[in-house]
Amino acid sequence: MTLASDPPKEGFRLSMLIYDTRFRSITIQVVVLLLFLAGLFWLLNNAYVNLEAKGKDFNFSFLWSRAGYDIAQTLIPYTNDDTHMRALVEGLLNTLLVSILGCALATVVGTVVGVLRLSHNWLVARLMTIYVETFRNIPLLLWILLMGTILAETRPSPRDFRVTDAMREAGQAPEASMWLFDTIAVTNRGTSVAAPVFSNSLGSVVLPGNIPVSLNALALIFVMAASFYGWRLLMRRAKAVQEATGVRPTTWWQSTLILLGPVSAVSVALGLHLEYPTITRFDFEGGFQMLHSFTALLIALTVYTSAFIAEIVRAGIMAISRGQTEAAYALGLRPSRTMNLVILPQALRVIVPPLISQFLNLTKNSSLAIAVSYMDLRGTLGGITLNQTGRELECMLLMMLIYLTISLVISSVMNLYNKSIKLKER
């Protein structure tokens, strides 16, 4: 006798691929994969055929030919005799510079605005609401253009700063003057700031890739690091003494001496002094020059992204229940300590993941730089190089790959940070 519950043995039928739930999901996946591959093949084939038809090949050798154009702001030495590859690197560094500074500033501004928006002060809270709603609801490109225009149109031209002999005799003041004891000059083109320079040079080493590094700066950094390490030792000893005897030794003068002494000594030895910007025939020279294209882009990226970050911070803080604050107050913690020790550590877990995407946005948005003629990656590789060599496909793919890499690096770093602040469960 056979059991009634025995399933009837059935052979495999084709219709089972669709109607049998055991196979259906696999069928769908295989079909989708085939369609995807077919589509991919069609697109690649199309690209190949059309490139062929236009007599164009696909290679990246143009990166090693002479660029021939100049770039206004460069972080490492560059002349128009360098290769397109070098121009690419210049653009990439400019992108990274504005992105990193932008992310840092946007985080600071965003956090302040976000916290202030929760303020009990009616006026402050409303002002911050206006800040957030204004900056995040107007397209970034307009902010960039606006910042560029404001800086270019409201500031005097460099020649207005000039004092001619005739003016000196007549006792006239120039139309525009520098700020803060002649250390800062903001013209309609850029900002010139007095910069610390050394009169005695230890020389410089040239890193591979023709990147000179001043030994003076290295020496100063080394001394600073050593001083800091010494200070840490001092503090540790003070703590040990305090724990052993209950009395903390007086350390302020030792701290001051250790932190400032060696650095001042080295600075004096190297002849550290301020180099003031001076007006020359066309523009300010000397000191530290910052073009408005950079400033405008940085300000626009910062204010725009900070508005989003402010909301993220506010959401993060509001996610922590009111009871936590009350409990902290009940324990006698002051409001600032409550914020730092109780609320923020918990809020960060809510804040960091959306913050990552804001950093990514800021970095990608920096490609709007061309609006104010800031030469970022899009300006060099995706702009001039692409145009002068006619390698659209190569330049675009390369640029996409680079932006993708930058974004992935930012995400992974931020993910590591996120992991480190995660609630540690025991």
Binding site: L43, K56, F282, I384, T389, L397
Partner: protein, 338 residues
């Protein structure tokens, strides 16, 4: 990561897919409209007039081609292209032809796979500065900030010129002429450099034109002309001979006004061939025999186009100079219609 690169390539491949294989002439005829890439705004060469219709010296070439191919100079769709987007626009098939004061160079002819069909303006790169800068020669521009249109030959010439003269400069890269003018007027740069004709055109539109001087140095050769995609020779011929019809017409004294009269009376076989009264010129390039006649009727001969748009009687006030007929000591020389 792999997946995203993948999608990136897909998108790019998709963009390239826009180029069609059929002949441009057939496409234009079938569409009933010529798509012409022009400058977004350069007074005298290509700029929208008060009614929003594009007018100018470069635009006239588009109109002449439209008249020759479609019989109506108004059947043109103008696509404004910046210095950066123009060649991609042409290569991708977005426009049928480019008439956008673009310099004919070796690498553009070969590497960019363009075909420059003729030169409609022989130009050179110059500099423009404000008088109060006290500069009277480009050699005095050491240390200056210079506005430059990005993606142009002038960008490279500028770098070469300053290097050859051992001078330094700060480039301010602008996307097109209007942005360049705006930056220059706002004082964001000391000097503005582009083709001398472009400088004259820009200066004409500036409110303080009297205070602006164009420096005497011409630092490069800039033969500007219409371009088509390489590989469609017949379409190249259509554009080339539509343009040369205008040049030849000036040489033989055929104007918009006297064309019908000349056609009725002339015995000159060259003029008769030009106007389609003899021979079968048109059939050889896929048009009818009166294509040149229509082109001339639409915009006038080369001299008329020049005078009406950029000549001495206009605010731009360019002299013919190199662009006079070869019979007048210039370089304008149409190959024979034979």
């Amino acid at each position: 990561m792999k997946k995203s690169v993948f999608f990136g390539s897909l998108v790019m491949a998709g963009l390239v897919a826009g180029v069609a294989g059929a002949s441009t002439l057939d496409d234009v005829k079938a569409r009933g409209e010529l798509i012409c890439g022009v400058n977004p705004g350069l007074t005298g060469f290509a700029a929208p007039d008060a009614n929003g219709n594009y007018q100018g010296f470069d635009v006239a070439v588009c109109k002449a081609v439209a008249a020759a191919v479609l019989g109506d100079p108004m059947k043109v769709k103008y696509v404004p292209l910046t210095g950066e987007t123009r060649f991609t626009g042409l290569a991708s098939g977005e426009v049928d032809m480019l008439s956008r004061n673009s310099t004919w160079t070796f690498s553009r002819d070969t590497e960019l796979a363009l075909e420059f069909v003729a030169v409609n303006y022989y130009d050179g790169q110059g500099f423009m500065v404000n008088k109060n800068l006290g500069v009277s020669s480009a050699k005095e521009l050491d240390g200056a900030t210079v506005c430059i249109q990005t993606g142009t030959t002038t960008e490279l010439n500028l770098a070469d010129y300053f290097k050859a003269n051992n001078m330094e400069y700060t480039p301010v890269n602008v996307a097109d002429d209007s942005e360049g003018q705006q930056k220059f007027l706002a004082g964001a740069c000391d000097a503005y450099t582009t083709d001398a004709s472009g400088l004259a055109a820009s200066r004409a539109t500036m409110p303080n034109a009297d205070e602006i001087v164009i420096l005497p140095e011409i630092i490069s050769k800039e033969p500007l002309g219409p371009a088509v995609r390489q590989g469609d020779d017949n379409w190249g011929d259509v554009v080339r001979w539509s343009f040369y019809a205008l040049v030849a017409a000036e040489e033989y004294g055929v104007t918009k006004a006297n064309l019908e009269e000349v056609a009725a009376t002339t015995k000159n076989p060259e003029i008769r061939r030009l106007l389609g009264l003899e021979g079968d010129m048109g059939a050889k390039i896929g048009l009818d025999d009166e294509f040149a006649k229509r082109a001339i009727l639409a915009v006038g001969n080369y001299g008329e186009v020049f005078e009406a748009n950029i000549g001495t009687s206009t605010s731009i006030g360019l002299a013919r100079g190199l662009n006079a007929q070869w019979t007048q000591g210039g370089l304008m020389y149409a190959p024979p219609f034979r």
